[in-house]
Symmetry: C2
Subunit: 383 residues, 2 copies
């Protein structure tokens, strides 16, 4: 039996309700994965993650290889034991962070040489090393090393894509563990031909799942959605698709509408650290970007929760006035309560979409979602 089978339980349009089987349990999709960059989802305990209904958690290879080191984590029994998370874990390859380092890295055909942002020490990541490190970390889903190119630099994108494809092949060859699903990463910027080529190349290599990289890096929403449309056409139906680093409520809904199964994003915890709350129905509030800024004086005496219809711990127990006080007083509890709420918004949105797809009501759900968001992007949302 395939240890990483993906069962499609239901579809509605191109939206998919599936189950991806991993050594740490089945993963119901569509799913939103909280990000634990340094093996900790910021300001949230694993117990709280469990209570939030989180299933898949992401950790970053780049950060963990530098601190505390992947061998140390391996010696301690791997990431699951280390961070106290017994459910599925996904690690990226480190590629995305490397290509964000700017002057601190140098790429060649065989890999990337870079300096640590922590102590300036020099390191090198190759496809083989990216796999070896992720085998040390021991996540259920791991990623090939890829190169994230500027989506507007056509020449660079073509070169980077060829390199990404060779690296994908080398990663496959380097894999020694059979209990980790190694995903290929589709690149190609916003160029439809390159995206098609990337899908075809990787599918020929044959991966248990496919990630879609290089999006949400500056392109417009229209470009992102058009790219997802292309990728959806050229990836196999019976393998999971993971849209990397994407996680606004809008992008979750539109991604699912275009056949995406897995999402991750630092957005909910980052927004929380900035003192703001994600709203699923921002139409009812005066907000910017669908977020409620708890720093604003307007909340000072407001006894209402962030969202009266939200069922999270924060909204069941605390007022906007209290959370605003915590934000203004620099209390850590502000991060905790806002992170819990923001994670709930995305985890629960994924849950609602799973239910809607299973009931063949996803298009109705999607229309209601956009209507509640003040009608913004409504044209785009209609297929």
């Amino acid at each position: 039996m395939d240890p990483f089978s993906f069962d499609l339980l239901a579809t509605d349009g191109r939206a998919r309700r599936g189950v991806f089987n991993t050594p740490h349990g089945p993963l119901d999709t569509p799913v939103f994965a909280p990000v634990g960059t340094q093996a900790s989802v910021k300001a949230v305990t694993p117990k709280e993650l469990e209570e939030l209904g989180a299933s898949l958690v992401l950790a970053n290879t780049y950060h963990l290889m530098l601190r505390p080191g992947d061998e140390l984590i391996a010696n301690l029994g791997g990431l699951h034991t280390f961070m106290g998370w017994d459910g599925p874990i996904l690690t990226d390859s480190g590629g995305f962070q490397l290509f964000s380092l700017g002057d601190l890295r140098r790429v060649d055909n065989d890999g990337v040489t870079f300096r640590s942002h922590i102590d300036g020490s020099e390191h090198r990541l190759t496809p083989g090393k990216a796999v070896a490190i992720q085998e040390n970390l021991g996540a259920d889903i791991i990623m090939v090393l890829d190169e994230c190119a500027d989506p507007n630099d056509q020449a660079y994108i073509t070169t980077a894509l060829d390199r990404t494809h060779r690296w994908a092949e080398q990663c496959l060859a380097a894999q020694t563990r059979t209990d980790q699903a190694l995903f290929g990463i589709v690149q190609g910027g916003i160029n439809p031909e390159l995206r098609q080529k990337s899908c075809e190349y990787l599918v020929k290599l044959g991966f248990p799942g496919y990630a879609i990289g290089g999006l949400s890096v500056g392109e417009t929403k229209e470009e992102m959605y058009a790219t997802l449309d292309i990728v959806d056409l050229h990836l196999p139906q019976y393998k999971p698709r993971y849209l990397m680093g994407v996680g606004t409520p809008e992008d979750l809904v539109e991604g699912v509408a275009r056949g995406v199964d897995i999402f991750d994003c630092v957005l909910p915890t980052r927004v929380a650290r900035h003192g703001a709350a994600l709203l699923i129905q921002p139409g009812r509030e005066a907000t910017r970007n669908g977020q409620l800024n708890l720093r604003n004086a307007i909340h000072a005496g407001d006894p209402r929760p962030i969202d009266q219809e939200c069922t999270c711990y924060t909204c069941s127990h605390f007022s906007r006035a209290y959370i605003r006080h915590l934000v203004k007083a620099n209390e850590i509890l502000a991060h905790q309560l806002l992170s819990i709420h923001n994670l709930h918004v995305l985890i629960d949105l994924a849950r609602q979409m799973r239910e809607a797809i299973a009931n063949r009501e996803f298009q109705t759900f999607r229309r209601a979602f956009w209507a509640a968001r003040n009608g913004a992007h409504l044209d785009l949302a209609e297929e």
Copy 2:
């Protein structure tokens, strides 16, 4: 019926096992109260506090009157609703913080004028105002305004004590709510005559409970314990005694041995923020001050929990290696996990002492406690 009756269930030597009845439920004593300076116990949710077995929580009048303001909290239904804590709450009078402000305050016979540490604005606190603010905050146990004098300045201590006594009388007269227990505060530094005088003065006024102020401010352990011995002699048996701001494991045990019922201290959460863990049996470890510094490299690969015998969430789920990584990587979760452990140590120590007193085994418990602490202070611990 007295709304604030104190039932002595058992005694063992001078140690007392009691129940203090408050509008938010009975309080089992001896008890350790976590401190929520700004209406939040730092890095711990109320749900976690409940799971830790916390019963009484403290909040600081000085901080809350300045931000977010006591009237705002009153309008939102008081501290219990505001901070989501349905158990008993205690507020101090603001006195201790005022007298720590140094150049920022000026004291006269009628009160204290001071500048806010937040924005420099000028404020005034009088006995009447301290009560009015605490009535707005709405805690179950509130404190008279007192003056904390340098324990070594004999002349100042005498003046300050007279003022403290007059203020205590004025606070009693100013009280309008009947659902709050206003505690008198015994002062007098480490001078036995002044402490006796203070007890007698306050007991004559008649309070539902008595706080012991002005300790743990620089005097030796011997001086502190000797002062507790004096106070114990001159306070009524059937009223609770609260030792303000004291909270090392040693002081809890020695305080209980001298008839103290209630303790509070920022120690557990402050130590947590410095990356260290309290140990109940430091004799088994190489530590300083009975604390384990998780920053130390020695913990980097250690799969053991902080304390193998500890039953807290942190020790049941996470290794020293992981917590050290969180501390080094500046993850908020380090504060959370260490705060949970440190609070558990003191809350559970109080629980163990309640059990020991009820079973008339407190002296045995106390000897075992000191033996586990490497024999330090053992002579002092013997009566």
